[in-house]
Amino acid sequence: MVFQEPRLLPWRSLAANVEFGLPPGTARSKGAATVQHWLDVVGLREFGNHHPRQVSGGMAQRAGLARALARRPGVLLLDEPLAALDALTRLRMQDLLDTVQQEAGTTTVLVTHDVEEAVILADRVLVLRADATGAAARWAR
């Protein structure tokens, strides 16, 4: 899962945060290789030893994404992961999400208030709206 804020563990380096996401029982050597792979995919290879306080919000969010992907989830949940980012960083992250999702091939559920973002990134868009009778949902395409 990727949250709206990076929610990295502040006492761990970026690499150690990604390692935190590994499936239980992962062998150390394989785990190290997996961590480096996903840091590379999100463009943070040189920042593995940095701590969250030493990187920008966008970089921290990318590390959060790498952590989620290191888990090899069946379904990747993204809860407004770009909402807290500035416009330029958000555009870059949208490209990255698209690339990463194709690389991982994982079913991804993206929650967003940004209609344009949903249309750009998603294969299918589900519109949720609360009305007087409760929540209503409609597939947009």
Partner: protein, 252 residues
């Protein structure tokens, strides 16, 4: 030079040096008798005498081993019980009132009971120091763990951590600066309880030196024991304080 620009270490020495100057001036002026307040030189001479006779190391060793062992035992129990209370709301509601009540018992109130149960050997002394260390560490640990950032807990649970694994991988590291602060408070209390402990049929230690010097009218030795207790307490506190500062700096 502005006072604010003084290096921290120098600024910390200013008050002790001032007190030393006042002490020397007051004794040189003859405002107090030697038995009431001996001059600093007599205290230094008392130190020299204890060193020459080889007695000082025996007293220091006895006190340091009691503080170390008692503190480690008290800290281990406090961290374990504090972790349990911090993890579980039910355990907290059951244990917290009882522990809070015992926390208010003064150190000397434990002495008769410990003597009755454990005799006059090292055991009651170590237990008393452990009791002194226990309460501040337990209180800080329980409080810190029950106030860990809920967002970090959610991250831990989202990545499959629960119970003991959540405690060790998220809660304890998140609360580490507060835990170390609790360990500092526990260590300071351990030194306080040490003096009470060494009143229990002791023949060695800085606490014994205090009482023995009172009985023999050696105010210089009494002051020396107090200075040594203050110095050792400060040194051990500085070590933990440095660790605490490093932890805080790494996260901010």
């Amino acid at each position: 030079m502005r006072l604010a620009k003084l290096p921290v270490a120098l600024a910390g020495l200013a008050v002790p040096v001032l007190l030393l100057v006042i002490w020397q001036s007051v004794t040189a002026a003859g405002l107090f008798s030697t038995s009431q307040l001996p001059p600093p030189g007599d205290v230094v001479a008392a130190l020299g005498g204890l060193l020459r006779r080889g007695e000082l190391w025996a007293h220091l060793q006895a006190s340091l081993s009691r503080v170390s062992l008692g503190y480690l035992a008290g800290a281990a129990a406090a961290l374990a019980l504090g972790s349990l209370v911090g993890l579980s709301v039910i355990v907290r509601r059951m244990l917290a009132p009882t522990v809070a009540a015992f926390r208010t018992v003064p150190s000397l109130a434990w002495v008769p009971l410990l003597l009755l149960w454990f005799g006059i050997d090292e055991t009651p002394k170590l237990l008393l120091v452990a009791i002194g260390a226990f309460f501040p560490i337990y209180t800080t640990t329980a409080s810190a763990l029950s106030h860990v950032d809920a967002q970090l807990l959610e991250v831990g649970r989202a990545y499959g951590r629960h119970g003991a694994s959540l405690l060790t991988t998220v809660m304890l590291p998140a609360a580490a600066p507060e835990l170390v602060n609790g360990l500092r408070l526990g260590l300071a209390n351990a030194w306080l309880f040490l003096v009470a402990a060494e009143l229990i049929a002791s023949s060695k230690g800085l606490g014994f030196l205090l009482i023995d010097s009172q009985n023999t009218g050696r105010t210089d030795v009494m002051l020396l024991a107090i200075v040594l207790l203050a110095g050792l307490g400060k040194l051990s506190d500085t070590a933990l304080g440095t660790l605490e500062n490093r932890m805080v700096r790494r996260r901010s």
